[in-house]
Amino acid sequence: MNYMPGTASLIEDIDKKHLVLLRDGRTLIGILRSIDQFANLVLHQTVERIHVGKKFGDIPRGIFVVRGENVVLLGEVDLDKECDQILQRVSIEEILEEQRIEQLAKQESERLKLQAVKERGLSIPKADTLDDF
């Protein structure tokens, strides 16, 4: 039954598996159980998925209640297509290790960039002084 044709509503997505992207960069995958007028979400059997390069790892989290304003986007997961992925699933420890290495590499490149820039007499404001919302 189409509740509100021609409009965008989450009513249809209840009890379906969803992928939710949050503003802090986290990716959650869970079954959408409940919504309200602010698009606050209740996710059941949630898993936080971390991606590094072509590898990913899932951390089971249980039930998530997400405040609507923190959601960037969400979409229904196609259960058939979920199986045949190019991405390689690894264990949690491995993916966390990969993430740590990636973070270090990023920090290093940032540091070098900042140094090069300082040598040339310019200055780039640091990310934490900017308002990232």
Partner: protein
């Protein structure tokens, strides 16, 4: 989620779609729907596809409760809970307006007139909107529309006249002293009946010295165009009546309005338009029914004006009608005309065309 919960969320979202004027409030959705339906109708006409029933969004009629209980007292609880809905947010301050009778009268007078004029302006905007609608409204509706317009115009006119309720002798003036009031009158004039417009013109000429001296914003020229149109519809006797006002001596300065007008571009332009109209009426072959003494007043005024114009230093008028010199040639000798011509030309930089 239970059905009840789903219903609740849907109902809440539907409330936001309620509106008296969907075409204004929800423009994009309405447009989208109109186009979709047009497209489907097109397809159906071509008979290519079977008609697909588009589900229509039916907004349930939810009665908006007019009453609003700002504070709800729950049984057995301490204190009060502030209740807010999306139409009436939480009342944070208990601010009640008390009217103190001994307010400073002078302070409240100035903004009051401007607020008054603003209200009249919004009525005028409705009249102008109705005038625009007249072009493409159905014949049956036209009569009702015209009546509405006339009623509003009359109301605005009488309200401008008696703006100052205490001193009813000062018609128009309080309103006209405010520059927006001048603009209001300028936009109202095209809608007024001939008699009402004539009355307005007479008022402007009698109060001309005050208006000219107090015109700090230089808003008077805005009245020029509509008054010029009014003057071009005047009969000879009406014109004479208005011109007579120019020869009145202003008590404070012991000069005639005429002299003062020459120093003000609006006053001077108004004078020129009046003379030009007289000249046009006289030189055309339309039979006039002048009152007794009209011609005398006319010639007297023309002489007086000529005298004034040739000796006084003139300011540049807003517009110099081309038939003025023709008029002067008719009544005056060549020398005076020549003097007049050079004086007028030096003021305006235009060449006053002679016959």
């Amino acid at each position: 989620m239970s059905e009840k919960e789903k219903e609740w969320v849907i109902r809440l979202q539907m409330i936001q779609l309620q509106s008296e004027n969907p075409h204004l409030d929800d423009y994009y959705y309405q447009e989208y729907y109109k186009r979709m339906e047009a497209k489907l109708a097109e397809e159906e006409k071509r008979g290519e596809w079977a008609k697909r029933e588009t589900p229509k969004l039916t907004t349930p009629y939810v009665i908006k409760s007019e009453s609003y209980t700002p504070v709800v007292h729950i049984e057995g609880s301490l204190g009060q809970v502030a209740v807010s809905t999306c139409f009436s947010p939480r009342r944070a301050i208990n601010a009640v307006r008390t009217h103190s009778p001994d307010e400073d009268v002078k302070d409240s007078r100035q903004p009051r007139m401007e607020v008054y004029i603003e209200k009249l302006f919004s009525q005028l905007l409705e009249v102008e909107e109705a005038a625009r609608k007249k072009g493409f409204v159905r014949v049956e509706e036209k009569g009702g529309l015209m009546e509405e317009m006339e009623k509003k115009v009359k109301q605005i006119y009488s309200l401008i006249r008696h703006a100052n309720l205490h001193e009813s002798s000062e018609e128009f003036l309080p309103c006209l002293l405010v520059s927006k009031g001048k603009r209001l009158l300028a936009r109202l004039l095209p809608f007024l009946s001939h008699d009402a417009a004539l009355h307005a013109l007479t008022m402007v000429t009698t109060h001309l010295p005050t208006l000219m001296s107090k015109d700090t914003d230089e808003a008077l020229p805005v009245l020029y165009a509509p008054l010029r149109d009014v003057i071009s519809a005047l009969s000879f006797s009406q014109l004479i009546g208005v011109l007579k006002d120019f020869t009145i001596v202003v008590p404070e300065s012991s000069e005639t309005i005429l002299t003062l007008a020459c120093q003000n571009e609006f006053g001077l332009s108004l004078l020129y338009v009046l003379l030009s109209q007289g000249e046009r009426l006289l030189s055309s072959n339309v039979p006039m029914e002048p009152n007794i003494g009209d011609f005398e007043t006319w010639t007297d005024t023309v002489f007086q004006v000529a005298q004034q114009l040739s000796h006084a230093s003139l300011v540049e008028p807003l517009f110099l009608p081309s038939n003025l010199l023709t008029l002067f040639c008719r009544y005056l000798d060549k020398r005076t005309v020549h003097q007049l011509k050079s004086n007028m030309e030096s003021a305006s930089g235009y060449l006053a065309v002679a016959s």
